[in-house]
Amino acid sequence: MIELQNVAYSYGGGELFNDISLKLAPGSFHFLTGPSGVGKSTFLKLCYMELAATSGQVRVFGADASQMTRDDIARNRRRIGVVHQDCKFLDHLPLAANVALPLTVAGRDASAEAANLTELLNWVGLSQHTDALPPQLSGGERQRAALARAVIMSPDVILADEPTGNVDWEMSQRLLSLLVELNRMGKTIMVATHDLALIRAAKAQVGARVLRIQNQSVQLAGADL
């Protein structure tokens, strides 16, 4: 699905990653952890091509990201659902339109998939809030809406950046179970989180692997979690 080969990334200040090689196999469930500021979000951004690797190669669905045109990137993003840390909604559109946004921008008729949308909003427990504007929702509701938007295109890969960052434990359990359910449906999942309790809870439900960012590199964490 997504493959990194000897990837390095550096920004003005210095080098964040050095020589990372990693392969996300179809149907796998990964956690990405490490202290905050270590580059978890940056790592995800390399995966959904918001950032380009300074050296090495990022291959998305078999194609070299650095060789893709802007339209190629747009089309590939439709196959990657991303749950952003800060959700990134269009605040002037109601929740239902925001969740359906990937369909809209892909030129698909959102009204033709209204049944899908309703089912999806039910699944994340937001069917009562379809007409609410994003700023009117609570943190947990926004996170669930972001998850709904990430999966509406039925993507092959779902990347979630601190999806439980500002929700309580109970809500993070609900989000986790939604992600686990998606993984059982065959989606490749990667969740960046610093919440070790969440990872432990997940390991009870799914065969998740844990990647830790350390010393500018990504390592497979041991069984200590």
Binding site: Y48, M49, E50, L51, A52, R70, D71, I73, A74, R75, R77, R78, V82, H84, K88, F89, L90, H92, L93, A97, L101, P102, T104, V105, A106, G107, A110, R149, M153
Partner: protein, 301 residues
């Protein structure tokens, strides 16, 4: 061709959902409308000016070119004979449609504005004037002068070229100024629309970023902006053009006063020309917004 139709249809009919993804903008919309309206208004006047001066130049050169004057200054004894000889020369000159010696009353009428009505023309050594009307081909002025020098030595041919040329040149220059004004107006419109579009793009940077992240292609995002600005420019320019055309139509008729003002306006099919201004404004706006949008998008991932 089909693609172009689909693109045009998308532009005008639009996609309700695509339109909604960019939040509505309040006052920049009105500014764009106002700017395109004002620019169209000015463009109509620049167009009227260049068309009117163009007509003026044509009229001056054709009317004056078709008539010339022969002036015969001779001692009173030879006047009649020389006039007769000159008329004979003119009659046999190819390109001269008619030639006629002005009679006394006509000559007096010509002098009246300068010397008053009571001028005793008889007692003054006034030259005899002969009005020469050319046919369409015109005559060879130099050849005529040489023949006249032999037959009627007191005759001087004035084919009006001397004072016609600077007038026509002035009118042509005015027409050029009008054309330059129209080009400047179009360029200014493009510049202002670009500024407005850049403001709208900057205000919606967050929206654009979100659209990119959920997989929108550049053309999709650009279209949302391009459509708005194109329609605003079209509507604004339409209103401005209609108002300016009404203003030109009700310009007081200066026929009596004569002169240059007489012709400022449109005649006949020229009334259709200003109707090109709104579509041209829309094209300028389309191009300016699209360029601005794609440039902004090129700067983000």
């Amino acid at each position: 061709m089909n693609q172009a139709i689909v693109a045009l249809r998308a532009l005008f009919v639009g996609d309700v959902h695509a339109d909604r993804v960019v939040p509505p903008t309040g006052y920049t919309a009105w500014l764009t409308l106002f700017v395109s309206g004002a620019m169209a208004f000015l463009a109509v006047f620049a167009l009227a000016l260049s068309l009117a001066t163009g007509r003026l130049a044509d009229r001056w050169s054709s009317e004056l070119a078709r008539s010339s004057t022969l002036r015969i200054s001779a001692p009173s004894g030879q006047m009649a004979a020389q006039t007769q000889a000159a008329l004979e020369v003119l009659r046999t000159t190819p390109g001269v449609a008619s030639a006629r010696a002005l009679d006394e009353a006509e000559q007096r009428a010509l002098l009246e504005p300068w010397f008053g009505p009571d001028l005793p023309v008889d007692s003054l050594p006034i030259p005899q004037l002969i009005e020469v009307i050319e046919d369409n081909d015109g005559f060879d002025a130099e050849g005529l002068r040489q023949r006249l020098a032999g037959e009627a030595p007191g005759a001087v041919l004035d084919d009006h070229t001397r004072w016609r040329t600077p007038l026509v040149k002035a009118a042509d220059r005015l027409r050029l100024l009008g054309v330059i004004s129209i080009i400047l107006i179009a360029a200014t419109t493009a510049a202002m629309i670009t500024l407005a579009a850049n403001a709208a793009l900057a205000a919606n940077l967050q929206v654009i970023r979100v659209l990119r992240l959920v997989g929108a292609r550049d053309v999709y995002i650009a279209r949302a902006f391009v459509r708005r600005f194109t329609l605003r420019a079209l509507v604004g320019a339409g209103v401005g053009t209609v108002l300016a055309m009404i203003a030109v139509a009700i310009l007081p008729d200066a026929q009596a006063a004569g002169g240059f003002l007489t012709g400022l306006g449109f005649q006949g099919v020229h009334w259709l020309l200003p109707l090109l201004i709104p579509p041209l404004a829309a094209i300028v706006s389309f191009w300016a917004t699209r360029t601005a949008a794609l440039r902004t998008l090129g700067g983000m991932t």
